[in-house]
């Protein structure tokens, strides 16, 4: 188990280093001068030069890469060009929105998807299965921004029970916490449903496959109640593909909320990175991308550990 983890971890670190090179190079070749974007079309060449010096853009690329890398190793992610604030401060601010949002959405999608998937598999081929999977098919097909707008029109414009968008901040006191949570309800649902649809389909097909295995028939033949066969024997073995998708989804949720964050104008990580690319706030883009890469590597590591727990055969094998 230890050797297995050590190997996974070293692969992860290597991936991080490679990612840092790729990210830096990609942004280096991207056209666009951050100073020009800040000062606009009427700026004089002297003012541009002065700003470039202020931003440290007059140093050669290799030097800037090394400074960035060593900075990150010591926990210093640099200062944003546009906001002139430490990148880490910006990221933490945004995490306070994105992380809870991703977490709520993921919990919501799991709570919906896994029971629906099991239910459909247990009634494999019957009307209930067809209905559940039809709904899931629809959920996969509907684009989440459109679904989000629909939710806004019904619950914010029509019924006016939740705000149409924006985020008031977590604040202090339960009243303000509740207001903040209320602002995340619609975005979380909009994010969760398409995810739930995918997850339900995966759960169902994994369960259907497992339910066809010989040992299930044996368990049934032994006279075990259907409920126990389903939840204890079948689900545990069907979990591997479900976990894989869950791991991928969390990473996707964290990084891929750009559209939902725009529809609900939430100040999350997705918005930050989107704005930063437009303004060529390279240092922010680089650092946030690295952070996301690190998160995804970490989640994959966690999923690997979960595999090992779910399937003991994997512990020694890799």
């Amino acid at each position: 188990m230890i050797a297995y983890l050590a190997k996974r971890l070293s692969i992860g670190l290597l991936t991080l280093l490679l990612a840092s090179v790729v990210v830096f190079l990609a942004l280096e070749v991207l056209p666009g001068d951050p100073a020009r974007i800040m000062l606009g079309m009427n700026a004089s060449p002297e003012a541009l030069e002065a700003l470039r010096t202020q931003m440290g853009l007059d140093h050669p690329p290799l030097l800037r890469y090394l400074a960035w890398l060593t900075g990150m190793l010591s926990g210093d992610f640099g200062n944003s060009y546009t906001y002139s604030l430490p990148v880490i401060e910006l990221v933490l601010e945004r995490m306070a929105v994105s992380l809870p949002l991703a977490f709520i959405a993921l919990s919501l999608s799991t709570l919906i998807a896994v029971p629906v998937g099991i239910f459909a598999a247990a009634r494999h081929g019957r009307a209930a299965d067809t209905l559940a999977m039809g709904a899931a098919q629809l959920g996969v097909a509907v684009p989440n921004f459109w679904f989000a707008l629909l939710l806004v029109y019904v619950f914010a414009v029509g019924l006016q029970i939740v705000p149409a968008g924006g985020f008031p901040g977590w604040g202090d006191g339960w009243g303000e916490h509740w207001q903040a949570l209320r602002a995340l309800i619609l975005p979380a649902i909009a994010l969760a449903l398409p995810q739930a649809a995918i997850l339900a389909r995966i759960t169902r097909s994994a369960m259907v496959e497992v339910l066809g295995e010989d040992y299930i028939r044996t368990a049934r033949a032994k006279g075990l109640p259907w409920r126990i066969v389903l939840w204890r024997h079948a689900l545990r073995n069907a979990l591997i593909p479900v976990l894989t998708i869950l791991g991928l989804q969390f990473a996707f949720l964290l990084a891929g909320t750009i559209i939902i964050e725009n529809v609900f104008y939430l100040p999350g990580l997705g918005r930050l990175i989107f704005q930063a690319i437009g303004q060529r706030d390279l240092i922010v883009v680089e650092s946030v991308v690295m952070l996301l890469v690190a998160t995804i590597i970490l989640i994959n590591l966690l999923v690997d550990i979960c595999y090992a727990i779910a399937d003991p055969r994997l512990r020694g094998a890799r």
């Binding site: 991207l30 906001y83 968008g165 104008y265």
Partner: protein, 493 residues
């Protein structure tokens, strides 16, 4: 007894309505599309900065009013020497900055010298180019000496880039702006909103609003739903697109279509073949149908222009008839220029709606005249680098939003690659002319030269579509300068 009761009742009602009036709404949430990168208008060109701080947090010696006029601000009045080179500003007394420090002549000297200095990152440094020296005569009087008379000097001092800042706080204005305006900065939740509150110690009439929140909503659909749900009560400039008729029909809202200083043009690379040929540029102008472009690119709102000048300006001349829409004339001109079968070129478009939508229409109109355009959409940073800085382009569509910016055509090395000594001459004269009549005459001449040379395809003046709660008063109809001045904004009773 009966009478007394009635009188008492009436008094109660009076009292009740009086308190109702007193407890009128004093808060406002405004929606803006772009979040400013920081809040120092003297160190960045982003319109989003001025749209929050101008006239609300920061003030200059002069200010630009709702119709583009120059008004006194921190300078109560001024005198100009007979040769037009010495401006004596008499400053308002009893003005304090939001941090409690007193405003005086030293602050003016500091601010102007800071903007002119070598390390200055002021995006509009050219505004200060004529200043030779700034002297403090006494705490309430500043004398500014110019190297030569400058007709636009008082106007220049009204820009957001020329606001007065305090030496103690200037370096922190990016995150925490400290000015002299009727509102003070309260907080900025990055990515979400920015709050300003009434400045109780303001030198002028206090603002009616106690608190104003600018909420950043980049997405059009989200902006419309925020308005409909009542989360946001005003959008000073909303690109509502297809949703506009729905909002116009709703009695809760008022839709006000005003003008901006944005001349929207089909920019032409005058230095590149075949566009260096006057006949080719004239052919392009003939091929354009402005009405159709305005309809498609700007929902039918926007005044057609025939040169690079705002129709709202006193010196405006209507030159839209110089090259009427005439495909045959365009083809003939192309033939005379040696392109009887037309040619092909590229059209590089920045990400704004008017450019992307207008681009399609321009391409189809030019195709009729025989010019095949390949449309290349670009993001803003790419556009600034390729088109604006490196001049690697044939045609582009862009709105030049700075007020009174016809002088860009006289700049060396500007991306139009246009060079006409006669035009440069008019601009040089304009720079040193202070007499209003003569200035207008020069402006007219300048517009005519640009139209004759068909430097660019002049399309339309970009509209400002203000949408707000019908009970709100005092928001600007036009945008003569990039600002959302909340000084006069109040809820009607």
């Amino acid at each position: 007894m009966q009478k007394l009761a009635t009188a008492f009742g009436a008094a109660t009602i009076l009292f009740a309505s009086a308190t109702a009036a007193m407890s009128e709404r004093t808060d406002l949430v405004l929606g803006v599309t772009l979040e400013p990168p920081h809040l120092d208008p003297t160190a960045g060109a982003a319109a989003a900065i001025d749209e929050i701080v101008y006239a609300n947090i920061f003030e200059g010696l002069t200010r630009i009013g709702p119709n583009g006029q120059v008004l006194p601000a921190l300078a109560e009045r001024w005198q100009v020497s007979d040769d037009g080179t010495v401006y004596t500003f008499h400053l308002r007394e009893g003005v304090t900055f939001h941090d409690g420090t007193t405003f005086d002549a030293e602050d003016v000297k500091f601010s102007l010298e800071r903007a002119m200095s070598e390390e200055s990152t002021n995006a509009q440094k050219v505004l200060f180019s004529a200043i030779e020296s700034v002297e403090v005569a006494d705490p309430a009087t500043v004398r500014v000496t110019l190297a030569h008379p400058q007709g636009s000097f008082l106007y220049n001092m009204g820009w957001g880039d020329a606001v007065i800042v305090a030496p103690e706080t200037a370096d922190h204005n990016r995150e925490h702006p400290v000015g002299t305006g009727p509102y003070r900065f309260e907080n900025w939740a990055r990515g979400s909103s920015l709050t300003i509150v009434r400045n109780a110690d303001y030198w002028g009439a206090p603002a009616a609003l106690e608190k104003a929140v600018f909420r950043f909503i980049p997405d059009t659909a989200a902006a419309v739903t925020a308005l409909l749900s009542g989360d946001v009560q005003a959008f000073p400039n909303l690109q509502a697109g297809d949703a506009l008729p729905q909002i116009q029909a709703d009695p809760r809202f008022e839709v006000v279509i005003g003008a901006t200083e944005g001349e929207t043009i089909l920019a032409i690379n005058n230095g590149k073949k075949p566009f260096d040929e006057l006949k080719v540029r004239q052919a392009i102008s003939h091929a354009l149908d402005r009405e159709e472009i305005i309809l498609g690119a700007s929902s039918g709102n926007g005044v057609p222009i025939g040169s690079h000048f705002s129709p709202a300006n006193e010196a405006y001349v209507d030159l839209t008839g110089s090259y009427p829409h005439d495909v045959e004339a365009a083809r003939t001109l192309l033939g005379e220029a040696g392109y009887p079968d037309g040619f092909s070129a590229t059209l590089k478009l920045p990400p704004t709606d008017y450019a992307r939508l207008g681009g399609e229409i321009v391409a189809s109109q030019l195709r009729e005249a025989g010019i095949e355009l390949e449309i290349i959409p670009m993001e803003w940073a790419q556009w600034l680098e390729q088109v604006f800085t490196n001049k690697e382009y044939d045609l582009s569509i862009i709105s030049h939003t700075e007020p009174n910016d016809i002088n860009i055509y006289a700049r060396d090395d500007y991306y139009f690659n246009y060079d006409n000594p006669e035009f440069d001459d008019v601009m040089a004269k304009l720079e040193v002319t202070t007499e209003p009549k003569e200035r207008q005459e020069l402006y007219r001449r300048a517009q005519q030269i640009l139209a004759e040379d068909a430097v660019n395809g002049f399309l339309f003046q970009l509209p400002k579509t203000g949408v707000w709660d019908a009970r709100l008063e005092g928001l600007w109809e036009n945008a003569p300068i990039q600002a959302n001045d909340l000084t006069e904004v109040r809820w009607a009773e």
